[in-house]
């Protein structure tokens, strides 16, 4: 990580890693939701 990068703090959360976790977590939730829909309407 360079200096400029360290200076730019993530908005809303303290760390960018929280944003990354949010995006990945949301994807997993979507896949689970789609799996449920697939089973329910099959």
């Amino acid at each position: 990580m360079d200096t400029q990068d360290q200076e730019e703090q993530a908005p809303l959360f303290r760390k960018w890693s929280t944003w990354y976790a949010l995006v990945i977590g949301f994807l997993l939730l979507m896949i689970l939701f789609f799996y449920f829909l697939t089973k329910h309407f099959a």
Partner: protein, 564 residues
């Protein structure tokens, strides 16, 4: 189309051009023309990224894809959010820190001139041709279904956008994409509402999903595993979507200048990252909703007469061929079955309906077989015409014009960003790099000239490509997958294999690119059962491994590098 539709269509398109010209006031240098003075906020970066990726075929073909093949196409986007995270960690800080205009500039600083030139050339080749397809695909569909002349449709689809893109550069592209997406989403939302509104009383969204589900259209998650094991040729399943889709998205958003150019316009690293991460959050649900529209249209046609072939122009082709008598008989039988089917649609007659569906599928297959006859020379692909046929047959006046405008605007958003990026690579990676220093004014004028040149090139390419077969949305993706993996491999070596030098990565890129093209030929001939999504993985991993091997075997490990 009615007069009201024409008025809505023309006013929307002229309004968009005027808005692009008005908002495209920029400083007369490369920073202003290609990067909008690096002053764009995150939400405009997001809309720019989405508008660039979502071309007209996204909105035309995706509902048809769900109608015929089900919703499993959404899995193709599962790798995208993961790619957004990797981009934010690695690519975005590197590009911003070095203040590059193009992604390939970074490669010269990390490797050498020949690697930069090769990757930029591959981009120009691939993106120039695929933009031709992006223009010809919707133009072909509109000209076919509305009876418009293909040449003029191509010119309106790809030519009008040149006006504001040449004049206003990246700033005009960013502002128009914002407005275009608002109109597109509005139009698609109204279309979805109208489908549900036109379903019979007592049939709502849930019932429509049950109808689609019974026909196998709500197959959102599939694993690609059959009795014979995992099917590597299966295009859309959870594994190809997450893994293949990840490499495709990483390559597309990380190394394709049409996308890199969007988030380089951001006012800071934070704004770039937010735009990309928001794209990771909204892209999958957005694609899901577009596919859902296809399932709703499918449910709608369970209560209404479904055309034997949605592309009526091809039925007319058959009516003038040696199959004309057979066609009359087939249509008569088909219409009888449709009339009976609509009358008996109740749960108790499920078995009967299934039998009718099988017979109908047989008739449709016969039509396709006739169209494939070399003597007839027709187009047997009906998927791209399903949604538009529904719009024309069942939506009210005015709304039809709006949805035709949506198709134009979706095409324009994607084409404008591409023309801007093709021009930026041409001037920054080639003209400026290989000529004497130029003044800001001269660079600005040349940039406009190159934008105009690429606009004309893409329209000509569209005209040449308009007879392309197979599903058009997939043709664009297949073409991308031939080059994306290799370009991504070069960038991955740049970021993660710091001891590998320019010559090793250059040689490996050439070898692996040849390998991917051969693999594609073998795949198309059925010799190697491998879907195109996997080419991205093969290309990227192939370049990384081969470059590492060549470096270790033939070159010293001392390499000049910039810190990624």
């Amino acid at each position: 189309m009615s007069l009201a539709d024409w008025i809505v269509l023309i006013l929307t398109l002229l309004g968009m051009i005027a808005y692009g010209l008005y908002k495209g006031q920029t400083s007369r240098d490369l920073d202003g023309y290609f990067l909008a003075n690096r002053a764009v906020p995150w939400y405009m970066v997001l809309l720019g990224i989405m508008g660039t990726q979502a071309s007209a075929v996204t909105f035309l073909s995706a509902p048809g894809q769900a109608y015929t093949d089900g919703m499993r196409f959404v899995q193709y986007y599962f790798g995208l959010p993961l790619a957004m995270v990797v981009l934010c960690i690695t690519f975005v800080p590197a590009f911003h820190r070095l203040k590059v205009y193009t992604a390939y500039e970074f490669l010269e600083q990390r490797f050498d001139l020949k690697t930069r030139t090769l990757t930029s050339f591959l981009f120009l080749l691939q993106r120039g041709l695929s933009t031709g397809i992006s223009i010809s695909a919707p133009a072909l569909i509109l000209s076919s279904i509305l009876g418009w002349d293909i040449l003029w449709t191509n010119i309106f689809m790809g030519g009008l956008v040149i006006i504001y893109t040449v004049t206003g550069g990246a700033k005009a592209v960013a502002y128009t994409q914002q407005l275009q997406l608002i109109i597109i989403f509005g139009g698609m939302f109204i279309a979805g509402y109208m489908v549900i509104h036109r379903l019979p009383e007592g049939v709502g969204l849930s019932e429509a999903l049950h109808i689609g589900g019974k026909a196998g259209k709500v197959n959102i998650i599939t694993n690609g595993v059959s009795a014979k094991g995992f099917d590597w040729n299966d295009r859309y399943n959870l594994f190809s979507g997450v893994i293949g889709g990840f490499f495709l998205a990483l390559s597309y958003f990380g190394t394709d200048q049409s996308q890199v150019g969007r988030y380089l316009t951001a006012r800071s690293i934070t704004e770039s990252r937010l735009g990309l991460l928001m794209n990771g959050l909204v892209k999958v649900p957005m694609q899901f909703l577009i596919l859902l529209l296809g399932v709703l249209v499918f449910a709608f046609y369970q209560f209404n007469k479904e055309p034997v072939f949605f592309n009526q122009s091809q039925v007319e082709v058959l009516s003038k061929s040696k199959y004309k008598d057979s066609l009359v008989m087939l249509e008569r039988s088909y219409n009888e079955i449709e009339a009976r089917r609509i009358n008996v649609i109740t749960p108790s007659t499920e078995h009967q309906l299934q039998q009718m569906a099988t017979t109908k599928a047989g008739y449709k297959a016969t039509i396709k077989r006739w169209l494939r006859d070399k003597e007839v020379g027709g187009d047997d692909n009906d998927t791209n015409y399903i949604f538009l046929r529904f719009v024309l047959d069942y939506l009210p006046k005015g709304l039809i014009g709006l949805l035709i405008a949506v198709i134009f605007l979706a095409a324009w958003g994607s084409i404008a960003a591409t023309l801007n990026s093709l021009a930026s690579c041409t001037i920054v990676d080639f003209h400026k790099r290989f000529s004497r220093p130029l003044t800001d004014e001269k660079e600005f004028r040349l940039s406009r000239l190159y934008t105009f040149f690429w606009g004309v090139f893409c329209v000509v390419a569209a005209q040449l490509a308009y007879n392309l077969g197979n599903s058009l949305i997939e043709a664009v993706n297949v073409l991308g997958s031939l080059f994306y993996g290799v370009i991504l491999g070069v960038f991955l070596v740049a970021f993660y294999r710091k001891k590998v030098g320019g010559t090793a990565v250059f040689i490996s890129a050439l070898i692996v690119e040849a390998g991917v093209i051969i693999l594609n030929i073998l795949s198309r001939k059925g010799i190697v059962p491998l879907s195109f999504l996997w080419f991205n993985l093969v290309g990227a991993v192939g370049v990384v491994l081969l470059a590492e091997l060549i470096q270790r075997l033939f070159y010293s490990s001392k390499v000049n590098t910039v810190r990624p």
